[in-house]
């Protein structure tokens, strides 16, 4: 038995016990509303629980009990001894069913009789036994159910179409289109026959509404048999019969089709108003109608609509009347029946009405199209999307009286919902607009800005795309043509405003921006003091509430500060073209001097990065380009001899990869000969003899970055100035960048620099060692692990451990900082170990403990401390103390 069923049974027993107790107490105190409310809640909850499972007999009885108790609670039915007996009997039946479920996991089919009897008896106690019509919550369709049995359209399950969709479909049907209701019940084994029900259903064109029913007997997802299809698809389409025949030719026996006449869509929906429309009004409009004063009629109805809430059933019915007058002006009986229905507030039974065969009376106006999109976002999701959006519109349209004044909380929640929805359907570009509308709504304490945005968004951005993509799609009237025109005008205004805004730029002194940047840096640090303060408020001064309030305020400040920082960062962004632009001239000059022919290609000049990064990049890049021209590209004769074009190619490319800028310098020259490098490195004493023998080619190529390495045989005045690529590397590493090289002999060399987009704020992890705290830049930290002492092995006097099948050397931070104290393990005798990436290798640094990560403004060491190795800088912490930030690259 699964956990859910177990839970259900045990809880249900409690409820049954509770119901019995409450009934007993009610015997003594039959007028206690409190007891009745309790009793109702028990029955109600129990019914709700049973609905989660497929125990129809139980649910039916409980449902009847609930309805009865609801009536008792509201005073519609008075409590009596008979009633209590009947309820107890029903509960005994439920209890018996539960025993059976516990034993066999299901209920037998022999209970249907008892269940019906009990239900009828309970319903009989309600004054109007037939008044309560309750649709079964989960509709299950068995093999011998709907799919095979011929049904007429009036027996179709309720479809719950939005009014606008229903009107659009009605219009289609009136205009002579065949609207088909289609039910597709794939065979459970269909997956083994190579059928794809989802694909098939998605192939069906011109779908206006669809619904998927999970015909599932398993009670949990885990229990579900994923290899058999348990779905039933229902949809409405105006596709032609031939088209459908062709599409569904392999599964004709699993399809049920019903032609839906126009009238079936005429189904007003909404709240029934207790009072209903004024009888005088109804008499009046019927008179207008009978005298054929259609214009007066429509005017009166329009006035009424303006006066009453749009959510009322009667308003919906009136809109339908207008719709019918527009689309079927000659179909008087239907219009009259609907007008008369205003008295009862119930949709007339159209099947009773003889359906006149109405000829199309007018052409389809190019009505706005809604909601059926077959792009990447799945159809079902889009249907749900529109449901949610409609719900938000409904919420925003609620009159202030029904829910009190507009509260900021509700507006924010609607905003959050909208943002979520638009993100989920991959329209995240709308998010900032929603946020703007939300802000406006909050300031005005009114839902209007959000409503306006929603109307605009649904018309302006959504539709054109859809119409373009699915011109052939079904026409569903969504919004009246006049709103369309109105919003177009609105969008023009907005568009105009954008143009004006876009042309406004401002030249600002760079120093001012830098100062702003420094200030925001200070602010980020200052705001970090708030959590400390909150902590102190709680621990030192013992005021929890204040602490919580400070934390809440901190969240706000934090968000604003981060936004501000982002914005300023944006201002500081510069395109790399700033440094790229000098290369054409430089390459031309140098290649002339060397007698080489070079074609320079620049790519991604528009890529942006922080000004500091761009500036720091300038010198290394020049150095690399010179190197490529000098050592990489060969003389034309050599190139021709090697079978290449005489003109060499030098490509400098910038691109953005997530939060880093990648710059590549690629030449098609002679490449780097690893053997030559090895030999040089050996001669210069950079590697010893044993290394010389086993070093891989890639490692050898990497040696060009070693300090004091220069391969040029003749020191030219271009690149060989005694300094080599090590200068490039240290310059790049200074701004937290990395540099790498790939080379293929005879084919060319690719050098790549990867740099952060910005270096304003550094995220560091705080660690503790020898009672001191240090920071380690997060971008160097691969992971943090706790290594048990037993797992530390000593290989050649070096501590190591094996992490995921990889040997990782371990170094103690105290050793690295020349402290004699040993590292402290935790109580489980494990050492906190920081795995960092240094020059492409993973190294573990043992520390005493990990702390949190913080954003800091890293200030490089200056003056005498500037030369201190092992540290990349210092930063101020929120509590005012100084955090020394380690540089593991130098430390190791």
């Amino acid at each position: 038995m699964n956990n859910l069923l177990e839970q259900f049974l045990s809880e249900a027993r409690d409820f049954l016990q509770g119901i019995a107790e409450k009934l007993m107490q009610l015997e003594n105190d039959p007028n206690s509303t409190e007891l009745m409310v309790e009793l109702f809640r028990f029955v109600h909850t129990l019914k709700g629980n049973s609905g989660l499972f497929d125990f129809p007999e139980m649910t039916r009885v409980l449902h009847a009990s609930e309805d009865l108790m609801d009536a008792v609670r509201n005073g519609r039915v008075s409590y009596s001894q008979t009633l209590a007996d009947q309820l107890l009997e029903a509960m005994d039946f439920v209890s018996a069913l539960m025993d059976e479920i516990e034993l066999t996991g299901k209920t037998g089919s022999n209970h249907v009789g008892t269940s019906t009897e009990l239900t009828n008896a309970l319903r009989a106690l309600l004054n109007a036994p037939n008044a309560v019509h309750v649709p079964v919550a989960i509709e299950t369709y068995t093999e011998d159910g709907l799919a095979v049995k011929a049904i007429s359209w009036s027996e179709l399950p309720p479809m719950d179409l939005p009014e606008s969709t229903a009107m659009g479909l009605h219009r289609c049907a009136i205009d002579g289109e065949t609207v088909l209701w289609l039910q597709y019940t794939p065979e459970p084994e269909c997956f083994f026959k190579g059928e794809d029900p989802f694909f098939l259903i998605r192939q069906i064109p011109d779908v206006a509404w669809r619904h998927i029913i999970l015909n599932n007997t398993a009670s949990t997802l885990a229990e579900m048999d994923v290899f058999s299809s348990q779905l039933v698809f229902q949809l409405l389409t105006i596709a032609s019969a031939e088209e459908l025949d062709d599409l569904l030719r392999y599964v004709p026996d699993q399809i049920h089709r019903v032609k839906v006449p126009a009238l079936a869509f005429v189904k007003p929906s909404g709240n029934s108003d207790d009072v209903g429309l004024d009888e005088d009004f109804i008499i009046n409009i019927l008179e207008f109608f009978d005298n054929d004063e259609i214009e007066t009629l429509t005017n009166t109805i329009n006035t009424m609509l303006e006066l009453s809430s749009p959510d009322l059933w009667s308003s919906s019915a009136l809109r339908w009347v207008l719709h019918l007058i527009e689309t079927e002006p000659d179909n008087k009986p239907v219009q009259r029946t609907l007008l008369e229905a205003l008295r009862t507030q119930k949709t007339p039974d159209w099947s009773a009405l003889t359906l006149p065969d109405v000829e199309p009376t007018r052409n389809v106006v190019a009505s706005p199209v809604v909601s059926i999109n077959t792009s990447e976002v799945s159809d079902t999701l889009l249907v749900y999307f529109h449901e949610v959006i409609d719900a938000q519109k409904e919420i925003l349209s609620l009159p202030a009286t029904s829910g009190g004044a507009w509260s900021a909380g509700r507006l924010k929640a609607v905003g959050a919902t909208l943002i979520g929805c638009y993100r989920a359907v991959q329209r995240a570009n709308e998010v900032e607009h929603i946020e703007a509308a939300l802000q406006l709504a909050l300031t005005e304490n009114s839902p209007t800005p959000l409503l306006i945005w929603l109307d605009n968004s649904l018309l302006d951005t959504h539709e054109p795309v859809l119409v373009e993509e699915h011109e052939e799609h079904i026409v569903v009237n969504h919004l009246a043509a006049q709103t369309d025109a109105k919003s177009n005008r609105r969008s023009e205004e907005i568009g105009g405003a954008n143009i004006v805004a876009a042309s406004k730029t401002l030249k600002v002194d760079q120093d001012k921006i830098d100062r702003l940047m420094n200030l925001i840096g200070e602010m980020v640090v200052a705001k970090n003091a708030l959590p400390y303060l909150a902590n102190r408020a709680e621990t030192v001064f013992g005021v929890r509430e204040l602490s919580r309030e400070i934390k809440a305020q901190y969240a706000v400040i934090n968000r604003v500060a981060e936004e501000m920082q982002d914005t300023i960062m944006q201002v500081r962004m510069m395109p790399v073209s700033f440094i790229f632009q000098r290369f054409p001239r430089m390459v031309r000059d140098i290649s002339r001097k060397l007698g080489k022919e070079v074609e320079l290609v620049l790519e991604g000049e528009a890529t942006e990065a922080d000004k500091n990064i761009i500036e720091a990049l300038s010198d290394p890049l020049i150095h690399i380009v010179r190197n490529s021209l000098d050592h990489g590209l060969e003389m034309p004769e050599a190139r021709l001899a090697a079978g290449k074009f005489a003109t060499g190619k030098l490509l400098i490319r910038a691109s953005q990869e997530s939060d880093r800028v990648l710059i590549e310098i690629i030449d098609d020259g002679k490449g780097i000969d690893p053997d030559v490098i090895k030999q040089k490195a050996y001669e210069k004493g950079l590697i010893d003899e044993s290394t010389l023998e086993r070093i891989s080619d890639q490692d050898a190529v990497n040696l060009v970055f070693a300090a004091g390495f220069s391969t040029a045989d003749v020191i030219s005045d271009l690149s060989g100035r005694g300094v080599g690529m090590d200068v490039v590397r240290s310059a790049v590493e200074k701004v937290n960048g990395t540099v790498g090289i790939e080379s293929e002999r005879g084919k060319g060399t690719r050098l790549f620099l990867s740099l952060p987009l910005s270096m304003a704020v550094t995220n560091v992890m705080i660690i503790e060692s020898n009672t001191q705290i240090f920071g380690v830049p997060m971008d160097m930290v691969v992971e943090t692990v706790r290594v048990p002492r037993a797992h530390i092995r000593t290989i050649k006097q070096k501590q190591t451990t094996v992490l995921r099948g990889r040997i990782v050397p371990l170094l103690s931070l105290n050793d690295l900082l020349a402290k004699s104290e040993p590292q402290l393990p935790n109580e489980d005798d494990e050492f906190a170990t920081l795995i960092v990436r240094v020059h492409g290798e993973h190294v573990g640094i043992l520390v005493d403990d990990f702390r949190e990560t913080v954003d800091i403004i890293l200030k490089p060491m200056t003056g005498i401390l500037g030369g201190l190795p092992g540290y990349s800088g210092a930063a101020l912490l929120g509590d005012g103390s100084v955090l020394m930030v380690l540089n593991p690259r130098e430390l190791i």
Binding site: L4, A413, G420, A555
Partner: protein, 123 residues
């Protein structure tokens, strides 16, 4: 991981929702009535609330009204889940601060679709 608070007095319904949501990779907390829900929601910022209507002590409407009144909390979307699906109940729920209405028993796929939408997760 997105954090969802399921508020329902019936343990079975809570477990039902927990099963669905956890299988889909969400982290789930439970509250058995409006009061407990408020206590939790004011401490933890949940990304989504799934709220039953009929509960002892403080019902779903009451919880939402109180919660939406809070100024310094993250006003995440709320789905109201109930057996009463009358339009009047719906309006009441919306007016209290719900963002969506679902009828019990919720269908797992529908629930998950809504949850993904409200959480802004691209499928």
């Amino acid at each position: 991981m997105k954090h969802i608070l399921v508020i329902d007095d019936a343990a079975t319904v809570r477990l039902y929702h927990r099963n669905i949501l956890e299988t889909a990779g969400y982290s789930v907390d439970e509250a058995i009535n409006g009061i407990e829900a408020l206590e939790k929601a004011l401490v933890t910022s949940y990304d989504l609330y799934i709220v039953d209507v009929n509960m002892p002590k403080l019902d779903g409407y009451g919880f939402l009204k109180e919660f939406r009144r809070q100024e310094d909390v993250l006003q995440s979307p709320a789905i109201m889940v109930t057996t009463e699906a009358g339009n009047q109940d719906k309006i009441l729920g919306y007016a209290s601060g719900a963002n969506l209405y679902m009828t019990k028993p919720t269908k797992p796929n529908q629930l998950l679709s809504y949850v993904r939408l409200l959480l802004g997760e691209v499928a």
